[in-house]
């Protein structure tokens, strides 16, 4: 069974600063995906960034980037130039690739607050 651990229940940073959210996972699978999802207060969950395990290059999406360390089973999210709209719950998630493996395993989340 897969597990995902987010060790930071809450974080807060000043607007325009950079913040890194931690995620570790445990699996015996070799082919999988990792995701960061964002859930703003009272709004729907949206995908922030996605990483395929077979890719060595870290994924980036504008101000969002990941540090994927496969051997260490670590998948941290870095938010640069943080904005007020980044205030949200952030969930790290894991999925084994391939047919029959449709389930996402979520971490417990990190509540991020951007301070004006």
């Amino acid at each position: 069974a897969q597990t995902v651990t987010q060790s930071q229940p809450e974080m807060s940073v000043q607007e325009a600063e950079t913040v890194t959210l931690s995620c570790t996972y445990d699996t015996s699978e070799s082919n999988y995906y990792l995701f960061w999802y964002k859930q703003p207060p009272s709004r729907q969950m949206i995908l922030v960034i996605r990483q395929e395990a077979y890719k060595q290059q870290n994924a980036t999406e504008n101000r969002f980037s990941v540090n994927f360390q496969k051997a260490a089973k670590s998948f941290s999210l870095k938010i640069s130039d943080s904005q007020l709209g980044d205030t949200a719950m952030y969930f790290c998630a894991f999925k084994v690739s391939g047919f029959g493996n449709e389930k996402l395993t979520f971490g417990t989340g990190t509540r991020l607050t951007i301070i004006p």
Partner: protein, 112 residues
């Protein structure tokens, strides 16, 4: 815009009174999921459909049922809601189960 729609957004039901939550999608995705999310917790997968194939999680109570009459719609039926079933219920879709999931806005269920 293609999207995942959930109705109603807020639902109040009485203890023990059956309730149905609805999800529809315009993405034409093969997989539809139902999650239960309690306050400040991660979403918990209840079950999912891959096309018409139903996949139940082992720890989903029998009180929860689901129907998927066609590609676009999926329903969550709670046969006898208890106070512990009060939560946000999220519907999500994915194209083939191997990519990201797209979430609806959720239905917040209150049980009185």
């Amino acid at each position: 815009d293609a999207m995942v729609i959930q109705n109603p957004r807020y639902q109040v039901t009485q203890f023990g009174k059956p309730v149905t939550l609805s999800c529809s999608q315009t993405l034409n995705h093969n997989v539809m999921y139902w999650y239960q999310q309690k306050s400040s917790q991660a979403p918990k997968l209840l079950f999912h459909y891959y096309d018409k194939d139903f996949n139940n999680e082992a720890d989903t109570p029998d009180n929860f049922q689901s129907r998927r009459p066609n590609t676009s719609f999926c329903f969550l039926d709670i046969r006898s809601p208890g106070l512990g079933d009060a939560a946000m219920y999220l519907c999500a879709t994915s194209r083939d189960g191997d990519g990201e999931q797209y979430f609806g806005p959720g239905t917040r269920l209150t049980v009185t």
